[in-house]
């Protein structure tokens, strides 16, 4: 492993601890900060890794789902007789077969029946499930189910859904759930408004009244699919009075809570196990097919596996499409006076996590800037399309496309360099972006300088255009996390926590933190995670929170283990003194050193036993202020445009990973590269398209194009480590930030290269070609 391969910002690593916290400035203990290889890399590339689809159980059955061909319809009747009689079929299940199950789930707004209950609200919604001895039989039986629908008027466009006469999806508002994570009441200004969030301060009218320059525009961000290589897969089994579900879920504890409610079980009787996961990107956050899989197992009286295809996964969850209408007022010196915006999200047929996406989009539209007056209204709107939910970036890509486009539009109007305009408005370190918020924990001006240097700002080749854009996300979700560190009598360590390894590298990074904190070799730390019956609670794996918040919980658990061990050493090895002195990996008593294993063995009196260290994190102490941290994005881009075809060529991308302290620089860089490429996909090609009838036109990987390696430009990931985060050794979250500014950066760079302003992503060749023609006709 070559640490020098990883380019960190050494010159700026001046360790500006905000409160002069000495512990935060001290160099982290190895292996923290080292680019060690992924713990799961070998298993994944050799095929040794077992995903849910690889697991089996005695008597396992297989399920397939019948899906609605209509965007909106009443389900008049379902005849399952012939399907149930088909040889090899174990059970056919509809909502009518589940009187003992609480059908409706949803952590924010409970509005989602686990299977259509009298009505379908989007084409592709599950209407019936078949459980059979094998998949082919289940598939055959689907054709034998007869469903009579009464089609209803439907609406696929969010603006149309807000019209007074629009078809109504949900006759009554869904129940608000305690996990909703946003403060607003669900405003039912229109029955298709799923949620409404407002972020506002200052006198907006006064701000626009004295503006020297106002930029105004409407920006459209596409309906996208967070393609993960592993589609949703779950396996459920009822036994011994309880329910066990193996699933590809990011938040096993959230899924557990929903399952307990659906099946009327205590939390302790529900076990959710997450083995290897083939990518999440937010799409596997919260509950998906787990309640339905469990309901099928309940009626089949056998274990059941439901493995969706990619086509079905696209119909299960997607990202929120956004129309952002925004105007920003500047004074003559380029200082922002105010920003006024309306965000309309096309959130699909069910709330899922869109209410929180709407909330976060409102919070994130201001960006990392000092804005005296702000007014953002953000709506999550029901439409007859596949439900939208969390998607990497979480409202920030949609908001940042609008906000950062306007910064460059304003710079041109003001005759200012686009970076200089940003510098004049960036929040200073420690400055809260809004009242009662945590102070800003980054130095984005320094990040801009880094990006400018790396990109060669101002020295674009002829025909090329450059841009650098930034973003800020209030991240980390809730600081509710626990961890257990067990030190065995041979001194090896088991780390137990509820964080899910979804490819982001938490299995490696968290083990590094435990190894560093306990002073043991990384090879002697074993990581056990995401089994609600075996490890302790973690709220979620999302919002870029794991390294920071689980990292803090692990630090606390390690501290607890070490404190107990020091006490045991004193009690057993030196009851009469001298005082035990803690050392890396053990204790020193006089001139003798005892490692942790020796202390355990001495205390239990034989070669057995262990110590259990516990770590708890809540809104208290360093994590009392919200958000727990800000996630930053800073992306520089160099493009050229083919004037004949309208094809944009992205030649180079620079990302600044402002992560405070990279626990594993190699993984931190890889996260930024992945996020930037994902952003490139939505900026350039990715968009789910619905036709007038409410059918998804390109719900497959032939027609929906995610980036290939041949689409990836030269990538230059840089890390900025100023130890200014709340996490271990000043760490703060990364992995989403590099996605957020990409669309705006491309649009701004294209403006410089070709003199056209793109406000609708993705920037397909035809959209660019039309803009070029319009430019030429002016």
């Amino acid at each position: 492993m070559n640490a020098s391969r990883h380019r960190r910002d050494e010159t700026l690593e001046t360790l500006r601890g905000r409160d002069g916290d000495a512990a935060r400035r001290s160099p982290p203990p190895a292996p923290i900060g080292l680019p060690v290889a992924r713990a799961d890399g070998r298993a994944k590339v050799t095929g040794e890794a077992r995903y849910v689809a690889d697991l089996t159980l005695p008597g396992l059955c297989h399920a397939r789902l019948l899906r609605s061909p209509y965007a909106h319809a009443r389900v008049v009747s379902i005849d399952t007789t012939a399907a149930a009689a088909h040889p090899g079929v174990v059970a056919v299940v509809t909502a009518a077969d589940l009187p003992d199950v609480h059908l409706v789930y949803g952590h924010a707004v409970a509005d989602h029946p686990l299977i259509a209950d009298g009505k379908v609200r989007y084409a592709g919604e599950p209407v019936a499930g078949v459980v059979a001895e094998d998949l082919a039989t289940a598939t055959e039986a689907l054709a034998l189910i007869e469903v009579t629908y009464e089609p209803l008027p439907h609406v696929v466009d969010a603006a149309a859904a807000l019209a007074p006469e629009a078809p109504v999806l949900h006759a009554k508002a869904g129940e608000q759930r305690p996990h909703r994570g946003f403060e607003e009441d669900i405003a039912r200004a229109h029955p298709n408004v799923c949620s409404r969030s407002v972020q506002a301060w200052g006198d907006i009218e006064e701000a626009f009244g004295r503006a020297a320059v106002v930029v105004e525009g409407t920006y459209r961000y596409p309906m996208a699919y967070a393609y993960a290589m592993e589609p949703y897969t779950a396996m459920a089994s009822f036994e011994a009075g309880g329910l066990t579900v193996w699933t590809s879920a990011q938040h096993p504890y959230m899924v557990r809570d929903d399952l307990a409610r659906c099946f009327g079980l205590p939390l302790s009787a529900v076990r959710v196990v997450v083995p290897y996961v083939g990518g999440g990107y937010g799409s596997k956050s919260y509950t998906k097919i787990e309640p339905l899989t469990a309901a099928l197992a309940l009626r089949a009286r056998r274990p059941v596996r439901l493995a969706l295809s990619v086509e079905e996964a696209i119909l299960t969850t997607r990202g929120d499409a956004a129309t952002v209408s925004v105007r920003t007022a500047f004074d003559a010196e380029g200082r922002i006076l105010g920003r006024d915006a309306r965000i309309v999200l096309n959130s699909g047929a069910y709330a899922e996590n869109s209410p929180l996406v709407a909330r976060k989009a409102a919070n994130r539209l201001g960006g990392p800037y000092r804005i005296p007056a702000l007014r953002v209204e953000s709506l999550a709107v029901y439409t007859n399309t596949a439900p939208a939910s969390s998607f990497r970036g979480f409202g920030a890509p949609q908001a940042t496309f609008a906000g950062e486009s306007q910064m460059d539009e304003a710079a041109a109007r003001l005759g200012l360099d686009a970076l200089e305009l940003r510098r004049r408005n960036l929040l200073s370190p420690g400055e809260p972006p809004w009242a009662k918020a945590r102070g800003f924990d980054a130095d984005l001006a320094a990040d801009l300088d880094l990006a400018a240097r790396e990109l060669g700002w101002g020295a674009a080749a002829p025909g090329h255009g450059q841009a650098i854009c930034v973003s800020m996300s209030d991240a980390g979700s809730e600081p509710i996390t626990t961890a257990i560190v067990r030190v065995h009598h041979d001194g090896s360590v088991t780390l137990m926590c509820g964080s899910t390894e979804i490819g982001q590298g938490s299995a490696t990074v968290l083990a590094q933190i435990a190894a560093g904190e306990m002073g043991v070799d990384l090879a002697r730390v074993h990581f056990l995670n995401s089994d609600t019956a075996a490890v302790s609670y973690d709220r979620s794996t999302g919002a870029s929170r794991t390294t920071t918040l689980m990292g803090l919980a692990i630090q606390a658990a390690a501290r607890d283990a070490r404190a107990q061990l020091c006490g045991w050493a004193q009690e057993t090895l030196a009851p009469d003194g001298p005082a035990v002195v803690e050392e890396r990996g053990g204790v020193r008593i006089g001139d003798r050193v005892h490692d942790w294993g020796a202390v355990v063995r001495a205390w239990f009196g034989t070669a057995s036993g262990e110590v259990v260290g516990r770590g708890y994190l809540r809104r208290s102490g360093a994590t009392a202020e919200m958000p727990p941290f800000y996630e930053l994005g800073c992306v520089g881009i160099d493009v050229s445009v083919d004037e004949e075809t309208g094809v944009i060529r992205v030649d180079r991308m620079v990302t600044i990973g402002d992560v405070g302290c990279a626990i594993n620089p190699r993984l931190a860089e890889a996260q930024d590269v992945g996020a930037a490429i994902m952003g490139l996909g939505m900026a350039m090609r990715e968009e789910l398209l619905y036709d007038e009838a409410g059918n998804l036109l390109n719900g497959n990987l032939f027609d929906y194009r995610v980036p290939r390696f041949s689409d990836v430009p030269e990538m230059r990931p840089l890390l900025a480590e100023r130890r200014d985060g709340v996490g271990p050794y000043g760490a703060k979250g990364g992995g989403e930030g590099a996605l957020n500014p990409v669309a705006a950066a491309i649009a701004n760079a294209v403006e410089r290269a070709a003199g056209i302003r793109l406000r609708e992503a993705p920037f397909t060749p035809e959209r660019v070609w039309r803009a070029l023609r319009e430019r030429d006709s002016r």
Binding site: R64, L135, A136, A138, T139, E140, S309, E311, E644, T645, V647, R685, L689, L697, N698, N700, L701, F702, D703, R705, T764, P765, E766, W769, R770
Partner: protein, 290 residues
Amino acid sequence: MTIPRFELHVPTSVAEASELLRRYPGEAVPYAGGTELLQTMKLGLASFEHLVDVKRIPALAGIAVQPGGWLRIGATTTHREIERSALVGERLPALRLLERQVANVRVRNTGTLGGNLCFAEPHSDPAAFLLAAGARVRLGSAEGERELDVDAFIAGPLFTDRAPDELLLDVRVPPARPGRGHGFAKLAFFERPAASVACRIDVAEGAIADARVAVASACESPVLLERVGQTLVGARGADLDDALGAAVEAARHDVETFDDVNGSADYKRHLVGLLLRAAATSAYEEATRA
């Protein structure tokens, strides 16, 4: 995605395969690479109870130059085999260039030229090339054989002139010779191309004596634009650019494009013009190369 159950037959002769296809009318289909067929079955767009695997039939395999200089490509030849064939590289470099860009390497390793033509997919680049090249196909059944132009074989989108019990045996491309050049150009923004144009130009005594232009992807079915080729005839050196301009206009006028995820009909007409210029230019260069 689950593939419906089917029975697989592996005949070793054309007569045997034809007999199987005839035995299960409407239920049997020839199967070669399966890159289109199996996908269609998985998506539930087609179902067949009998798949007749034609890959073990020797008469359908191989690439060879026939007497008279015609290049024969057996129906079960994979895209990858064509891409890597020295014979193809020597005689039809534009076809090699085309094959190198077909889908992705997994599809090219499995998918066959015959399967591609028989499926009559609107986005078939090989069909466009073969149309422009004036290629002919041979069909065979238990009854005998017949030969027809690719143009006559491709009857419409996803529809060919092949009878249910017939097999496509091979494709024959007219001889490459001095004064003849082939060109191909395409644009792909998604998995399937937005537009592809193939061109064959014959030059005699310094002027274009014959030109054939075919388009795929942008239109409902790969199509030969006969009038467009004619606009190039007679052009030489200095006035080539004017002739190309006229051909571009003619192509944009004559091609019947449609809206889809790749873009609107308008935009695709624009692309066809751009691609025609590129394909015709490289065909002319090849034709006039000493």
